[in-house]
Symmetry: C2
């Protein structure tokens, strides 16, 4: 099977490497950056460079572009995709992408399934890509309501063959609601946390909790700007709830109210314990 990977950054590069390392498929790739293409070919992550005029030769196309570029690709290149082709994206937001993807698929006769690999690193670009990035990770799939079960099964099989431990189906709405708390708020808080004027002097005074809270502060601001803006409604709700919660603790500390503060901390500890049980 010929698989085209559009975008060879951290995610696309890792998918290409995983496909080459673990499956018998032909992997062809595209990136707008010439240097990345040269590096990908040199690393033998690709069979060769895919040009958009050859999109129709692929049986599967995986789009690993940031949201805005992904939407442009779907709008501008959909006519070049052969009927029956399975097209899957990897964006961290799904409502806007799936809307455009489903419409393009209906118009041109291919299958579109929204996708989001639940894995990442605090580094970006092809040089950070790893064939093992998805080992033990979950792949989220968002098919349209009446998608052919055989097509969904094909997609599931493909991702399991790359090292994903599990494929989970969800809706674009549910995905975006959940990702606001499981990923977006984490990146936002971490990015804000390191701005404390004292954080720069942490050496010697910090241990695991500081390292953990601040790890993902190192993000690709161009990508995350797009992700946050595409999911503003759900993300703002999480920001508001977190700041309201922080202010409850703040008030208890201000008041010197040990019983209230202890109750707030206990409730958080119990939430965490319940959440870990459900793993």
């Amino acid at each position: 099977m010929k698989i085209g990977v559009i975008g060879l950054g951290l995610i696309g590069g890792s998918l290409a490497k995983a496909l080459r390392a673990r499956t018998p498929h032909e992997v062809w790739g595209f990136d707008r950056c010439e240097e990345t293409l040269v590096a990908a070919c040199a690393s033998e992550s690709l069979q060769g460079v895919l040009s958009f005029s050859d999109l129709s030769s692929c049986q599967v196309i995986i789009i690993a572009l940031p949201p805005v570029a992904c939407l442009s690709f779907l709008r501008e290149q959909a006519a070049k995709i052969a009927p029956k082709t399975l097209v899957i994206d990897c964006c961290g937001v799904k409502r806007s992408i799936c809307k455009v993807g489903f419409e393009a698929a209906a118009k041109h006769g291919f299958h579109f399934i929204g996708g989001h690999p639940m894995a990442g690193r605090e580094f970006s670009g092809f040089q950070a890509a790893q064939a093992t990035l998805f080992n033990r990770a979950v792949m989220l799939l968002i098919p349209k309501a009446d998608e052919d079960q055989a097509v969904i099964a094909q997609a599931e099989e493909l991702f399991l063959s790359m090292g994903f431990v599990r494929v989970m189906q969800t809706s674009a709405e549910k995905h975006d609601e959940m990702i606001a708390i499981t990923s977006q708020l984490a990146h936002l808080v971490s990015n804000a946390y390191v701005k404390s004027p004292r954080a720069g002097q942490h050496r010697g005074f910090s241990a695991g909790s500081f390292a953990d809270l601040t790890r993902v502060a190192r993000l690709n601001e161009t990508l995350w700007t797009e992700l946050f803006l595409e999911n503003g409604d759900f993300l703002i709700r999480e920001i508001d709830e977190l700041t309201a919660s922080l202010n409850e603790y703040r008030q208890a500390i201000q008041d010197g109210d040990a019983a209230r503060l202890c109750a707030l901390l206990k409730a958080g500890r119990e939430c965490k314990e319940q959440q870990d049980e459900h793993r």
Copy 2:
């Protein structure tokens, strides 16, 4: 040398185990919980149980109690400590403890040095104690301004022999200011983060960033209530700065202002990169 360890929770238990595993000293321990004492003796972490009437037989006393209990110990037992004894505490706040410790030491002729081992786990109690907990960790020491250099050197040597990679001297004020951002705010944010009504459904939708942000939500609320209240001034400043910062991102998202949001994220990413360079 006979060393007394007062309090055999995570920190005291780990110190006792590290002393027994890596040094030739005699380690005697006290805990108000009978079961913990039995477990500690059974695990051969202790030479024996130390009663307060034998405090004068110790050349070194390490107090590993929560702040309020540590203050009580210093106030109530100081008269039983022999002159010249080196007394070090392990509390996560230092202004209040050092004030009382220095006064007691001056009155009774022993040496008091404030201490804070920069290591921990998200589990508490003797059963979580590990002889290796302090490997590669920094030990912070807060001696009084005119402390005898030989006494400080003795303390440094003792902690290095337990596996600490480095001993760093600081003031109680500086310690408390820094710990508010490097540890206390991290625990507070993590504890608040897991309270999102969506967090309980994270399974399948979460990866490393959620795990990292929420790890220390599992805290001992009794201990952390004391730590937060003893350091309220510095901690409230950090909470206020973080929530103000979060609101800047929130406003940019609300306004759909990509340039502003990107600039905020870039500034955070650059802070993080600078902080990592200084490691």
